[in-house]
Amino acid sequence: MTGPDAATATPTAPAGGSTRPPQSADDQDPRGLGASVAPADALAKAQGTYPYAADLWAEGLLWAALLRSPHPHARITRIDTAPALALPGVACVVTAEDVPGEALHGRRVHDRPVFASELVRHHGEPIAAVAADHPDTARLAAAAIVVEYEVLEPVTDPEQAFSAPPLHPDGNLVRHIPLHFGDPDVVGDVVVEGLYRVGRQDPAPIGAEAGLAVPRPDGGVELYVASTDPHADRDLVAACFGLAKERVKVVVTGVPGAMGDREDAGMQISLGLLALRTGRPVKLVATREEAFLGHAHRHPTLLRYRHHADTEGRLVKVEAQILLDAGAYADTSSDALAAAVAFAAGPYVVPHAFVEGWAVRTNNPPSGHVRGEGAMQVCAAYEGQMDKLAAKLGMDPLDLRMRNVMATGDLMPTSQTVTCPAPVGELLRAVREEPLPPLPVGDDEQDWLLPGGPDGAGDPAAVRRGVGYALGMVHMLGIEGADEVSTATVRISEDSATVICAAVDTGQGFATLARQIVQEVLGVAEVHVAPVDTDLPPAGASARGRHTWVSGGAVERAARMVRTQLLQPLAAKFGMSVELLTIADGKITSYDGVLSTTVAEALGGKELWATAQCRPHPTEPLDEFGQGDAFVGLAFAAMRAVVDVDVELGTVRVVEVTVAQDVGRVLNPNQLAARIEAGVAQGVGMALMEDLRTARGVVQRPGFTGYPLPTALDTPEVRIAKLIEDRDVVATFGAKAAGAVPVVVAPAAVASAVRAATGRPINRLPIRPQNAIVAQG
């Protein structure tokens, strides 16, 4: 234990280089909505001075390490921490016994212990945490803790979870949705069936989980972590600490990559507990192996489909069974299941639909929110079905899709009417009309472009090209009655403005958007975005691009309130209405030019502040038959993938992906293109390589060789054929979030292209070489 000095230490980012930043933005810089405004933090990122949690340091800090279970399912018969405490340099060891507040936590369902004490339910589950004076000491001490296990048979097949002994007091079923829409007895002239499997994608951010906890003199604690939902994380950890929320502050650091919810709550709780117990700052940086074990993955999914159509190719009925593997804990599986069931037929008009969805617990690694959750898995399946149906009908797969596309005013199988723009047919036409890339035939210099790359390429004669198409959809906001709300404050003084909003910028560009909004409304070039912590009012999770809508809306309202406060006195003085005044480049002018002044003069040394909220249209939970207006805001995309497949080796190279996307309105062209390129790359990863393997529940090779990510070589050329700007009237600025839908559609498009090249069914993602080999005559 140390004195109060250490307890009040404030973390600092160590000084980076002594580089002087270049001259700040000149007057020619783009600004406002619709312009490619560059991110404000770009300079720090390029210089390596942008601080992530792993870079923080505080005077007198201790290092933490977690002890994680090597077994996926086991009873703990004994834990002895004495050998760890006996090591020199060890300050503290905590186990389940030391959790002062709630013993269980979770994002929707509180079913996950902070530390396993009786039962281990997945490989890598935390059992104890250690704080020591050196990271290696902490790791050695964690390894020295004696845990005796009675190893149990793991439940690893989600289909077995229904009949397996319950892993939790409330059983293994997290949620069941039996969606009934229309007449179950209708049958089509043509019926195709398919069984599809989607593997376990990991968000795999390059920056693993890390954090710094600093105790406060009032008995509270501050957590410096890359949280993507800081208020939810604060509430969750405070309950486990047995502290009032106000005594815990989550300060958001630089976020080193996020493809869904970030941070492992178990790690945050451990850090905070150790800081509270020792009275010293405690830092933890997860190893890469630990990151794969600790955070949530995309739900591995099994999908069984039956599509009915008439002889003309019009869809008559879709029947589906969807089984999500939630892993050991429920987490957000109920949301993923709702999306999977509701979007099970895709962006097509289906008069009758019967979809049964289940999310079940197993002893596999926990699943949770990963970009496009639920929607991505079903897209792979329903697009597989569309290809199959086209083959059976002898129709062109594009014509078949075109015949069935959804449009505004159509009903989803949840009986929700699609009220937003849904230009699905137009999207498909746009990708179809793009010219195809040439074949690299007979070009020695292009040999290395063959599937398998420069080292693994086979016989060029065995390479076949395939072109495939996919359509998909995803929701943007919280669903089923979640209180979607964000609060923002805007302040103006002299000639600069500040935005204060707890929306976390994960690199997706919210901070840039907030600056653009304020530039647009208040006409000032210099806009600062304040750092995020939980002393600010909540803004909700950074997911599905919802901040564009909800927090963007709150920022816009607050900026407009400031604008009115600023202009009202001037307007009154000149006897004109506020609407007749414009602000641009820091100057206020009236329509007739009579009034011309600067913002700074109008302020006269005062500061103006306003706070506003944005709470979009409410949603309702799906009822017992999967019916209800559960979603607000849908986004659509069409993609064409061009692949080369070595049909002897089964290797695949994605040559090009052409995208047409329904974006509502382009707010920042460069950022938008980057989001689409990123989504396509992540989707290509899902299609070809990303699957966190387990063997009887034990994660295999948790590293970037066992779990390869797409590199610059694997990422295809992305061609944006069309961005449809049909404004969604209920969305802020009419803009739709852009990041999730490419991840949803790209895997299905790649699968379709491989199907076209090989004639093989391709019903499993990622596609394994053995599934893409064509038997030679």
Binding site: A13, A44, A46, G254, G257, R288, A681
Partner: protein, 180 residues
């Protein structure tokens, strides 16, 4: 055990500053930079040589410094992302990354930038890569993709990274002399 057996005295020249350190023999250069010299620009993405986010220049060559023991660098000249600019203006590769928006979260960026500086030098020296054809001096997007393929970017900013490195390559002649 006698602690002298476990430690060594090492002299490093990092970003132009000479450091004399006594270090645990097992320390990696990445940990030395981040923990002992407070240079947190180089990132730890995997600690296994698999991601490239720890890339720095050692005697002008790019290395994954999580795989390098600091004791093996005694007497070496090390440049990290913090040392790339000359104190007044950014390195042209950094400028190109900024101009092209070649990142999202930024975590891989210091490694990408250092790797690009090293790669451009290799290309300028005519060192072939796996995709270089014949004896032509290597150039072009294919070369850049291949040479940058050791640096993972989960945000998949690859298209802009490749463009940024291409921009910097075009201007390379101007700045070779002042690149460490």
């Amino acid at each position: 055990m006698d602690s002298r057996l476990l430690t060594s005295a090492v002299t490093l020249r990092v970003n132009g500053t000479v450091h004399r350190l006594t270090l645990d023999n097992r320390s990696t250069l990445l940990d030395t930079l981040r923990e002992d010299l407070d240079l947190t620009g180089a990132k730890k993405g995997c600690d296994h040589g698999q991601c490239g986010s720890c890339t720095v220049l050692v005697d002008g060559r790019r290395v994954n410094c999580c795989l390098l023991l600091t004791v093996a660098c005694d007497g070496s000249e090390i440049t990290t992302v913090e040392g790339l600019s000359d104190g007044w203006s950014l390195h042209p590769v950094q400028e190109a990354f900024l101009a092209r928006d070649a990142f999202q979260c930024g975590y891989c960026t210091p490694g990408q930038v250092c790797s690009a500086v090293g790669a451009l030098r290799e290309m300028a020296e005519g060192r072939p890569s796996a995709v270089t054809v014949g004896t032509e001096p290597p150039s072009g997007a294919a070369e850049i993709r291949e040479r940058m393929s050791g640096n993972l970017c989960r945000c998949a900013a690859y298209p802009n990274i490749v463009r940024a490195v291409g921009d910097a390559a075009e201007r390379a002649a101007e700045w070779w002399e002042r690149t460490p």
